[in-house]
């Protein structure tokens, strides 16, 4: 399955999010030829009922019992999390056992989804994460249309991986904005705004590929391991589409420990980057995505950044010896300037943050220091970026434009990562 260089150069770009955003939100009579499996992660009874009601509204022909004409929609619900009776639904309900309560879709979710899709001859499956009752009307149907509808070329589906583009607001999904989105866009030249989305649409072959990758984790007892579907799609050179999902309720993480969560997510992300070095180093073709969906503004007030700035300053005083092992002198100098800035004027420029992230990825690969320590040392720097981002938004800059500019900087600086990845000792900036 390893793609050749030629394969990668002809990669299909992500679909235009703005064009998709302009699609009407109401359910369309899109023909859904074939079976579709919708997997729901364990939900509280009231959320499950609301989700099933929404799904029945999205597929009225199924609810009316005319499933044969428009395709067969199956909804898989977990019966492990609750002992409450399952609410009535006109949709065909399947039951599976899962107790996953993770923030994102996990290896266990992908394995379960593929097994069920295979058992029930589904052509595609949609995995909806926690809080799926808050999804915008029409979203699931549009994902189904992208997965089951014919592509412009006529052969195969329009996309093998369909990711949502949520409109979350400037204070949400900050790890995604700071690290996951810009790095994914720079490395794989695919620009879904939420590469690690809470909901995801998969063609059968994509589900199989992800289930195979997930099997390595589940056999080792790591059912909650995180997978990176965009990287899988990029490695297979399969088309990725992005659908406007509107606003969405975000699931609450089980722990409020930012350091532990960031270490888990960033660690998994960096490990995936390390494993796919041969893929992202060869990617060249790229068609830039157009303007993304607008994010709602915060209600005129912004979070207090003082604790974040304090965290950064405490770290600057204490962690210099650790950072000096990872970051080059130029970056350390940038951090020194940052530590001297007045709170109101605190700005971390995009170039500095890009170098920090790239150097941490390199240090993760080279094991310059223990990986747990490395990811722990990233947290205060990330908080400094968050503070800078919030202050920038407070000064009137468009947050989404800032993220796009940051992603563009990551793209421009990719050569630095590639050079140091290939010749870590020879290349000395």
């Amino acid at each position: 399955m390893t793609p050749t260089s030629t394969d990668i150069e002809t990669r299909q770009p992500t679909r235009d999010a703005a064009a998709l955003a302009s699609e009407p939100a109401a359910p369309e009579p899109t023909p859904l030829a074939g079976d579709l499996l919708i997997c729901l992660t364990p939900l509280p009874p009231e959320h499950l009922e609301a989700t099933l009601k929404n799904l029945a509204g999205e597929f009225p022909e199924q609810a009316a019992g005319n499933g044969n004409g428009g395709g067969n929609i199956m909804v898989a619900i977990s019966d492990a999390a609750t002992s409450d009776p399952v609410p009535d639904s006109p949709l065909r309900l399947l039951h599976y056992t899962s107790s996953s309560t993770a923030l994102f879709l996990t290896a266990g979710d992908y394995v379960n989804a593929f097994k069920m899709a295979q058992e029930h001859n589904a052509r595609a499956c949609i995995l909806l994460g926690p809080e799926s009752q808050s999804l915008s009307p029409g979203f699931v149907r549009r994902v189904a249309a992208a997965l089951l509808g014919p592509s412009e070329a006529g052969a195969g589906p329009e996309a093998d991986l369909v990711l949502p583009h949520y409109r979350l607001g400037p204070n949400n999904g900050l790890v995604n904005s700071a690290i996951l989105y810009p790095v994914t866009r720079a490395l794989y030249r695919l620009c879904p705004r939420f590469p690690q989305a809470i909901d995801v649409g998969l063609s059968l072959r994509m589900a199989e590929r992800l289930a195979t990758a997930a099997q390595a984790f589940t056999t080792a007892g790591q059912n909650d391991a995180i997978l990176w579907p965009v990287a899988e799609a990029a490695a297979a050179n399969w088309p990725v589409a992005e659908i406007d999902a509107g606003p969405r309720g975000l699931p609450q993480p089980a722990s409020n420990d930012l350091n532990a969560l960031l270490s888990e997510i960033a660690g998994s992300f960096f490990a995936d980057i390390e494993a796919r070095a041969s893929v992202w180093q060869r990617v060249r073709f790229y068609q830039p995505g157009s303007a993304s969906a607008e994010t709602p503004n915060s209600a005129g007030t912004l979070p207090d950044v003082t604790p974040m700035l304090e965290a950064f300053r405490v770290a600057y005083v204490n962690l210099q010896e650790v950072w000096a092992l990872v970051l080059p002198p130029q970056t350390l100098l940038g951090l020194k300037h940052l530590s001297l800035m007045a709170p109101a004027a605190f700005r971390m420029n995009d170039e500095l943050w890009t170098r920090i992230v790239y150097d941490f990825i390199l240090a993760y690969r080279l094991r310059t220091i223990n990986r747990g320590h490395l990811l722990g040392a990233l947290t205060p720097l990330y908080l400094a970026w968050v503070a800078s981002h919030i202050l920038l938004a407070g000064a009137g800059a468009a947050p989404e434009q800032h993220i796009e500019d940051l992603a563009a900087t990551f793209e421009r600086d990719k050569a630095y990562l590639v050079s140091r990845w290939r010749w870590p000792d020879r290349f000395n900036p």
């Binding site: 923030l103 995604n176 990758a213 350091n259 965290a311 405490v314 204490n318 320590h373 205060p380």
Partner: protein, 256 residues
Amino acid sequence: MLQQVHIALSESTHRVLLKLASFLPGLLALLVAVLLFTLIGAALAALVRLILHAMRFDERLARSNIFAGNANIQNWSTSHSPSVLLARVVLFGCVILGCIVGISALDASYSNNSETSKLLLPYLTHSVGAIVIFLVGNLIARFLSRSVLIGAVNARLHYARMLSEGVKWLVLVLTAAMVLDHLQVGGTVVDLAFGILFGGIVLALALAVGLGSRDLVSRSIEKSAERTTDASSSSVPPGSEPGNPPPIRIDALRHF
């Protein structure tokens, strides 16, 4: 008188030379055994590395199990290559075997009733153990020191460095005491000194952290008291007008 002194000296010199003569072959045997087994180990390690490289062992392992077990294996190798790790295991296995053979040869070169053998051999093995304890202790001290430093920084503790240094010195003092105890140097003086030093560091840390956290604890108590008062008096935060959204606090941030 002079003759007796001369006889005593010559006999003593003769005995020492005799012991040295019986000791040197054993020592030479020890060195030869270690050297020989190290060379054999190096050759075997090179062979293992060549075979594993030809088999593309690392790539196969990475492909079969990218993250799960392989990641754990790789964590043990500084060069993060499982084949290099295996080669090193072979090399050091041979070196340890050489040491065992050499010590056995040294032991055999002495007569059973030799006092030197009874004293030297246990001390030699204790020295090896002490070196291992010293190295492991240093590694643990560095690891724990950095863990505490990063954890304390992320908890926004201003005295993070002091805490980390304290933990490092605690482990180093403990290591030093264990090494001396293992070498049977100092006897009860070491135990006593260790107790005083260890207790002193713990007390100093407790005082420093306690005094340093005084403000933190009082702020925390004040905050929880304020929260209770706010909740009981009104659901609307002070300073906000009805109809306006409450100001977003740091908790309103969603990192994921």
